[in-house]
């Protein structure tokens, strides 16, 4: 699971470098988010611009990541593709996440696998 991790103002920015968030990678995604969020910063902004395909398992993994972070450290999303946004909209989970149009400029911390 390829992620790029950076900081922007006070936020921790995690850019997902995978093209698919599906059942095959859902567990690896949650693990990778768990280690990435060891870095400080709030909110956590998850960049989704590279993700071309997300199924309900991918959605579940993002919701799981949000719960993992707890109410003190909100998880926000950035730059979802049309297809990914459709899944959020159909499941009404677009009402739960703050969704940014673009990923904020970030100071790179590390590239994690």
């Amino acid at each position: 699971m390829q992620l790029s991790i950076g900081q922007s103002a006070g936020a921790l920015v995690i850019d997902v470098l995978e093209t698919r968030l599906d059942a095959a990678v859902a567990l690896a995604f949650k693990d990778a988010i768990r280690s990435a969020t060891a870095h400080p910063g709030s909110p956590v902004i998850l960049g989704l611009s590279n993700v071309e395909f997300m199924d309900s398992s991918g959605l579940g993994a993002i919701v799981g990541a949000m719960k993992l972070l707890g109410a003190e450290r909100p998880l926000e999303l950035a730059a979802p593709s049309v297809g990914v946004m459709k899944v959020f909209r159909l499941t009404r989970m677009d009402t739960v996440f703050r969704i940014h149009d673009e990923l904020p400029q970030m100071r790179d911390l590390s590239a994690a696998e």
């Binding site: 698919r20 059942a23 095959a24 395909f53 199924d55 309900s56 579940g60 159909l90 499941t91």
Partner: protein, 172 residues
């Protein structure tokens, strides 16, 4: 269809009709093992098929999502994380894609699945799959035949490049 061609267009028209008939019977049949990594390979095959039989981008996206959901259900629930056979049959027509999925896993009752959405505030990590299948398909039918589950559905839409498809606008 239903249009009278001009005389000098006859050959073009015949070729178009031929193409149309070929298109309506374009079919993909795949058989594979029902493990999650194998599904990616299966969906890639579907992608390749749809590149030579172009459908509207929305039909392509919806089909890929519905197949991913249906296939992971087969792997997880049908075969209880064990391996089994899956057969996928796709036919592309002017009005979208008709799909038939067969497996030999446990029987299920789609009537009880995906009728409601988990409340967004409940932050449920699951329970969306069948809701998405229902939301994106038409003419969904399920048959249990002997040891076989047969799931059939249609993803409606216009074929890429088609300005107007009569059946689609009638069904819309």
């Amino acid at each position: 269809m239903g249009q009278t061609p001009h005389m000098h267009d006859k050959r073009t028209y015949a070729r178009q009709e031929n193409q149309r008939i070929m298109d309506t019977i374009r079919m993909l049949v795949l058989e594979d093992e029902s493990s999650l990594p194998r599904f990616r390979a299966l969906l890639e095959e579907v992608d390749i098929f749809l590149r030579s039989n172009p459908v509207h981008a929305q039909v392509h996206d919806d089909l890929t999502l519905v197949l991913a959901e249906a296939l992971s259900n087969i792997a997880r629930h049908g075969y209880g994380d064990c391996h089994g056979r899956v057969c996928l049959q796709l036919s592309v027509s002017d009005c979208g894609v008709v799909c038939m999925l067969r497996d030999y896993g446990a029987a299920f009752d789609p009537a009880t699945l995906g009728n409601t959405l988990p409340a967004p505030d409940s932050l449920s990590e699951g329970g969306y799959g069948w809701f998405l299948i229902r939301a994106l398909t038409r003419d969904l039918t399920y048959t249990r035949m002997g040891e076989q589950n047969i799931l059939q559905f249609r993803i409606a839409g216009q074929r890429a490049g088609d300005v107007n498809c009569q059946s689609c606008s009638q069904n819309a």
